[in-house]
Subunit: 208 residues, 2 copies
Amino acid sequence: MLKRQPKARIAVLVSGGGTNLQALIDAERAGKIRNGKIELVLSSNPEAYALERAKNAAIPALTVSRKEHPDDFEAKIVEALEAYSIDLIVLAGFLSILSEDFTRRYDRRILNVHPSLIPAFCGKGYYGLRVHEAALARGVRLTGATVHFVNEIPDGGEIIMQKAVAVREGDDAKTLQRRVMEEAEWKILPASVEKVSAMMRRSGVTVR
Amino acid sequence: MLKRQPKARIAVLVSGGGTNLQALIDAERAGKIRNGKIELVLSSNPEAYALERAKNAAIPALTVSRKEHPDDFEAKIVEALEAYSIDLIVLAGFLSILSEDFTRRYDRRILNVHPSLIPAFCGKGYYGLRVHEAALARGVRLTGATVHFVNEIPDGGEIIMQKAVAVREGDDAKTLQRRVMEEAEWKILPASVEKVSAMMRRSGVTVR
């Protein structure tokens, strides 16, 4: 009998509330992520509520803060990723910018979710509420979210999935941000993680 | 009894095959444009098949070519629009760029349909197949179409409607262009014309 490739081992990198992490945990629990398993949550912020979510889901969680590791922040992250034999890194509200060395090392192994339909409202300066403020200022009727591989260009990597969300009359940046999360990010991020995990598993690029 | 405002009088400006014109004619016939009426088709190209479509629908049609009117092209267009007391101008594959004088004169009275989700793949140089080539080159999973008011900035005016269209595996610029027309342009252009006609009628800005 053919030996089956193991599931892709996933690390989720967070800095804050961790709603996208929760969407991933829920999707895995619901059997929607079948080819990967969240093995590690890594926070850049010791106060992140995402760490609670990891604990509640019995997922190992670590903090690597830039403040405590001003000179070896990324080295510490790599150390943790290697200790857990991570195949796939998911940025889920991770606020630190990763170096080109890092993104090259994990080429096509880092996923990010961005709250717009790339190439609209993305790149330098477009993060958090600013993305939605810009969309409202331009008066778009459709916005959405994009999951993409991370490379050295901000929001410039290959696109995996996109989902559109309608802007409603009376929306402000906060209501729009929330709806883009609910209707798009929390759906396409788990679906993309499953898609990439399945690709990795099929092509045998998982670490073990 | 209150006297009802007349329907908005619509001119459709074309240069080619006129599939978007046909979508408008069909929508009017189907009762989906109730607050406006196509009164004039104006072509910049005497060979445009759109002129046939106008004739078949018994809509007055004129040609104003830049070649024959190198110095007074826009003046001739204005003359025709005024002769027909036009309220709303729809650019439907009209290949000539209109001057700032023209767009100011008809401020919020010119609609254009662009085959992408503005602000993606729009502005100078993005027309026809080039728009879809650019979308495919970037690898987007969603594209679509946008109807907007025309102002002095190319594709820069207020957005009226947008509709998303999924890019499929194996799409080339031509298959994508066709699907964006069928699934988005031919739907949101008539719907936008009806919306703006209704706004004009309600606010009493139609000419008569």
